[in-house]
Structures are given as C-alpha cells and as structure tokens.
Symmetry: C2
C-alpha cells in the first residue's frame, strides 16, 4: 500500500505542476487578439462551457465549433483563391483545349480578363469549375491543388495563399481545441479543394471539412476501384445550405460559429438559436492597410445583413483593424 | 531537482503499472470470438498497424474503420428493423390518414401483410418511408425513433432491437477504438435513424454515422430557425454509393471494412484495394439456432458475390456459428 500511496501523491503533485505550467503561459490565450470585447467574449464563452461546476457547462462531445473558410480563416480578395486556382488551371490545361482560345468563359480566364469573367455570370463560373475540377479522382485533384499552392503567389502580397491565413484565427482554432472543442470548416468552397491542405494549415482533418461538392461516382476502371469526380453539382454549401451541410455531416447543432459574410448568416443564425451558451462571431474586413476593407457593397464576401442584425442577435463583430494585433503569420 | 527526479521515476513506475494492468486482462481482446482464423486475422491486423517499429505501421489519423449496420452490427431479420419501425409508424399515424385503409402500401402495413408490402416493390417502400420519415426536424424524428425503440420488441426474440446487436462486434468496436481507430457506421439505412441511438448502443457519435438520407431544408419557421426533412431522396448509401458516402463524409480511404451482404461489396472492395495493410471482413449469417441462417438466396442481406469472391480478395468470412461464442449481449 505504501508504494501506491506514494505514487498517488506523486501523480497529484505532477498533475498540479502540469496545470500551473499551462496557466503560467506568459501571453495567455489568443496572443494576437487585442484586449477588447471580441477577445473577452470568446474567452468568457470558453471558460463558461468548460467550467464543470458552472450552469453553462457543455459536455466535450457537444463542443463543436464551425468556421467558414474564405474571408474567415484566410483572405478572399481580390477573388476567392479557388477561382484563382481555376483560372491557373485553365491556363495549364489550355494546350489540350485549343477551343478555349475563342470561347467564354475560358478566353477570359486565359487572358486574365476578370471583367469578362465576371460578365459570364454564375453559369460561366460553374462551367469554369467543372472544366477544371472534374474528371479525376479526389486524390488526384488534391494533388493538383497542393502542387498549385506550392508555387502560386497572391497578386498583392506575393506570398503563398496558405500563408494568407489569419493568425488570430489560427490561435482561436488551437484555443478551442485545447479546450475540448472539435473544429470544423463549413465552406462555400469545394470540399476537396479545402481538404487538400486543411490538416497542414489549420490542423483540421478531412473528415471535419464540409463544403460544396460535385458528384462523385464509384467504378472499377480497368480493374482498379476508383472514385471519379463528375462535372455535376452535388451540393452548394452556402447560405441556407450551411445548416443543411452541418446536419448532414455532424448530425448535431454546433455551439459556436465563425463567419465573415452574409453567406454565413444562416449558419450563425442556426448555431446561436440553440439552447444554452452560444457564440457567434463575424470577422469584419475593415483593414485596408493590412488586408482589405469591404463589406456592404462588395461582390465577394458581402456583409450587409450581418452588420445590421448581428449585434441585435448577440453576435460579436470582430474588427480586423482594432481587434487583431497581427493579420497574417510572420513570413517564413 | 530532487523532487523532479522523484516525480519522473514515480510517473514511469505508475505508467508501467498501467500498461501491465491492461496486458493482464485475463480474456485478452475479443472475448466473445472463438480462437480461429477470423479472430487471429483481426488481432494480427491491429497489432501490425499499431506497431510503431513495424513496416505496416499506420498513423492514428489514418486508422479509420467502417462498419455496415444492418446484419453487421445488429440483426436484420425477419425484415430491416427500420422497415418494422416504418410499419409501426404507419399504425401510429393512421388516425390522421383514413385514406391509408384502402391504399397501398399503407393498407398492407396496417394489416401487417408483409407479402403485399413486398409486392408494392421499391416504389411502395419509398412511399412508406417518405410518409413516416419526413415532415419533421431531425431532432423530432430522432425522438420518435428513440420512443419506438423504448417499447418495440423483436417478433422472434421478444427483446428490444437495441439488444439485438452483436456482442462480438461491440467488442471489435471497442478493441479498434482502444487501438486508436476511429469507427464509422456506413449504413444503407437512414442516417438520422441510426444517429438516434448509435452513441448509446455502439459508442459511435452522430458525426461518425454515414447513411442514406432524405433531403433537408433550412427555413425560419415562425421566427424559429428550423431544419425540415423533405419527402425526397437525397442519397442512397448502398452498394456503389458506400464508397461515395465514405469519400463525402470522411475524405480519405479507411483501412478496415466490415459488412455482411453484397450491399457492402463495393465498400470492402474500395477499402481493401488501398495500399498498405487492409482488413476486410464479412459476417456470414449461418446460425439458424442462435440468430438466422441466410445468404445467397435471401431477399434481405443477400450474400452471394461476396462469398465467392471475398476469400480470393483476402477478405475474411466470419462464421457466426463457428467464430462467435455469443451472438447477443446477455439479457439485462
């Protein structure tokens, strides 16, 4: 019995030492967030749901947080990065498609004519996506995405796109996970596009990525079991589609949601309407100096209704300019 | 430094004590599996993928195992339990639908005429599912399922359906999870039907359930954000649909798959065609005494191609009669 007693005490002391070491972390959580309402609300929410003795305690299994990607976890200007990928992909595939030189939206993509591309409308954009995203397997497609990310550079910042992720949001992901949360991406972008790099960049595994998708078909091709991506829309994970995608993949209502545009409105609405403690937060792009400034009138990431109704609904509007000490991680 | 040294040694001793306690477990893993090829292959596979020094080591994140549900984790005779649920649901809803007394497939369901029900074909069954599964929210539907499970009894065994789960498979789920696996259900049955009880019965959370589904729509109904289940098929998670559902939800290829019928063939084919160590196992219902005996000619859970091709493909055929010491958990 004596050995057991000694071990128990030693373990207790050791575990206390670990706890105080964690608490002694000099910067505290979210070091790139300025002291202010946004940071305070996040910390208060996390403390409330993890406090076992508190009335707002939430069991770890129910600690699910959902994040929009474009404009919430990484930048989305001057155009969604996936669209820039599709344009580069048209250029790469053009030698096999001489007809693209004279037909829209491909001509516009090849000439980098964003105005003509926009004029091709949703129909044109879908055509562009189908021509550049289908016809291969998910694994092949992901490799194409990763190869592109390895060399492509953002037109303004001249950095890899995967470095144009928001440092405060990376810290938020880590902070939530350290407090027992499961973090999901719920993106209007393509599910396999995001999966290609979400583990490496955000620490989010493929099974925790929800997104728009094209149809996939299973077939045995020359004796090899294969999944083939088809040029047909399967699901659009945007606006009212986001709660639907969440239910389909997660099967329960998250308790925290993070977005930046009116495309995330229904997701925040759905998440924050549940019982118990809830956190809804919108990243407001108001920092023309360090990133971009846009909201009500932007064609990309328009934020209008959320700015008006969000505060009344108890959502936090995080100002990129005022709430964030840094926007991007330091250049490597 | 002395305290630290003491603690380190104490922790080391303590952790060794924990390890040997685990190893000393008298029955070893899978106590309800007889010693035989099936059990030996499962154990060898798990040891191989968890052996850090071995050539077949698989990182924990890639240790994903997928399980069919009907006939693999619980029984499926004399009819899929979800169909028996739908029939009981027709009876419960009948007072509001006087027209069902005279129209098929509802008349057959009300009269318990399984022959006439079968004669209504796939179209009739779909009609039955839509009338009994749609028009509510996922939460409401799950409550209906749980309420039914609380009182419904199996016609042959007179036990709750949730007790007609296979004890050896429950042990297998636990064994895999204890070895770092993430366990998923990939069911031809309804995703929300299974989610209603998968955590409680199998320890599988809703986000790890993949299944067939009807469409869901998000709307704000009288000021309340709501997901409504629509009477339209969204996805059929059966046969070639299973690898598609796996890719959609998990986004990577599992390394182990468990099924019992030709509806699982493509899932096992897809999983076991990947590189590195793979495990494919089929539960063969050959135990008329303790459960049911059926395979090539059964209308439910037909197993024909899998019996012929499975062994050639390296899949293990587990005989319920010979490989399992027990079929169901002891009655409570």
């Amino acid at each position: 019995m004596k050995l057991v007693e000694t071990l128990r005490i030693a373990l207790l002391v050791a575990s206390l030492a670990v706890v105080s070491a964690a608490r002694a972390q000099p910067a505290g959580p979210l070091p790139s967030w300025n002291d202010g309402t946004a940071r305070a609300r996040i910390v208060a929410f996390v403390q409330a749901v993890t406090d076992k003795a508190g009335k707002d305690h939430v069991a770890p299994a129910e600690r699910i947080a959902v994040f929009d990607n474009d404009g919430t976890l990484w930048s989305e200007q001057p155009a969604y990065f996936q669209l820039l990928f599709a344009i580069d992909r048209v250029k790469a595939l053009a030698p096999k498609h001489p007809e693209w030189k004279t037909s829209q939206p491909f001509k516009a993509a090849l000439e980098g004519d964003m105005k003509a591309l926009a004029a091709s409308g949703e129909k044109g954009l879908i055509e562009l996506v189908m021509a550049t995203h289908a016809g291969n397997t998910p694994e092949e497609f992901q490799k194409v995405v990763r190869d592109w990310l390895a060399t492509a550079r953002h037109p303004k910042f001249k950095r890899p796109y995967t470095e144009l992720v928001f440092q405060p949001m990376l810290e938020l992901l880590d902070y939530l996970r350290a407090n027992g949360f499961k973090t999901y991406i719920v993106s209007g972008g393509g599910i396999e596009f995001v999966r290609a790099w979400s583990q490496q960049v955000y620490g989010i595994p493929p099974e925790q990525v929800i997104g728009s998708s094209i149809r996939t078909k299973y077939e045995v091709h020359k004796g090899v079991p294969t999944l083939v991506r088809l040029p047909e829309i399967n699901f659009i994970d945007d606006k009212a589609g986001k709660p639907v995608g969440i239910q389909q993949h997660i099967g329960r209502r998250p308790i925290a949601a993070f977005g930046n545009s009116d495309g995330d409105f229904q997701m925040l609405e759905w998440v924050t309407a549940g019982p118990g403690p809830r956190l809804g937060l919108i990243v407001h792009h108001d920092d023309a100096g360090r990133e971009f400034a846009y909201d009500r009138k932007s064609h990309i990431g328009r934020l209008d209704r959320g700015l008006d109704e969000g505060p009344k609904r108890g959502w936090t509007i995080a100002s990129m300019k005022n709430d964030w000490k840094a926007v991007y991680p330091a250049a490597r």
